[in-house]
Amino acid sequence: MTDYLWDKTGEPETDVQQLEELLGALRYEPRPLELPEDIVARTARGSFRARQSGQWQRWAVAASLLLTLLAGAWLVVRFQQRDTHREVAQQTETHAQDGQTAPAVATTPNVAAPPNVAVAPHVERVNYRRPARVSPRAGTQRRAPAVAPREQVARNAPTEEALLASLPPEQRAATEQVLLALRIASTRLNDAQRLVQEMSAPRRDDNK
């Protein structure tokens, strides 16, 4: 179907043609666009920014490699720690079998243990049973849960400080340094990730 008004195909409509001729006097006449110097300079900076964004990707790759290395180092230290704990636990069990007094309850992890007291993270824990409580109103006894709540179990788990306390001073210092380096690397990577997200965030208002 031809439609002159729509796409100028087919038989021209007389009134439309006349209007085109008349209004053509107001048509756009090409003229050069004049660009001020500040805009030219700004556009040049824009290209520099594009180059910088490539550099930024290289930095991100380097940071991820560094993180991988640090994580590997941390795992090595962690394995060494586990071996140390195992040895200490074995010594504790040996002492107990020899008739020496062994700690009845695992040391509270939040409190630094004295150097001569062993902290064994895998020592079996006695399920703590809360003493029956007498309700002041009804006088009925409420039965305590048979299994310790999850929060309590988590609280009894050995913390970073307790684990570090069980290490020899030199190894502890090395471990602390590795952990500090990991924290710094993690923070940097988080910042980098946030920046990348901000750079690639959609700007809705601009593309209306």
Partner: protein, 197 residues
Amino acid sequence: MYKVEATGDLLSFSGQRPAHVAAPMTETPVEAALVEAVRGGDHAAFGQLYTLYARMVHGLLLARVPYGEVDDLVQDVFLLALRKLDSLRDAARFGPWLAMIARNRAMDFHRRRRETDELPDTLAALPAPRAEANEVLAIICELPEAYREPLVLRLVEGMTGPEIAERTGLAPASVRVNIHRGMKLLRERLQGGGKEH
């Protein structure tokens, strides 16, 4: 000051498909490549964008502001677009984005004009053929905005319907409807006003 001249290269650049055929959505538009080139510091690419879109911007402004102001505003719109080009996320949507800048610039023009309380342009200042054309344009500008824009682009700037849709980012179907309804209204107004065309 730098001057970007519109060159004949553009014709071969935009002449890859007939002007009245809208580009398929999968094809990477020429505009996107030009926008990326400008972002890379290529000012000639912006000259090509200017040549591609100056007619559209002229028409959009002509539908809103007096004829005598349009040329300067076209320059303003393109300078503004160049300044804000970094904020354009989808380079393929340069046309609709530029059209929005032009519409906003026209609104801004009227706001400032009210503030400064300038006198309106007089028709007597224009040559006779343009004065007559301006009278018809004034009638078009009294039509609803949805009809005004496509009619000016079609009748004044000589763009085809598909071209208008492609450049402004509007749906071809709605452009077509608006052109026909606008033309119908314009005929009624012209006949009612005693003008024979």
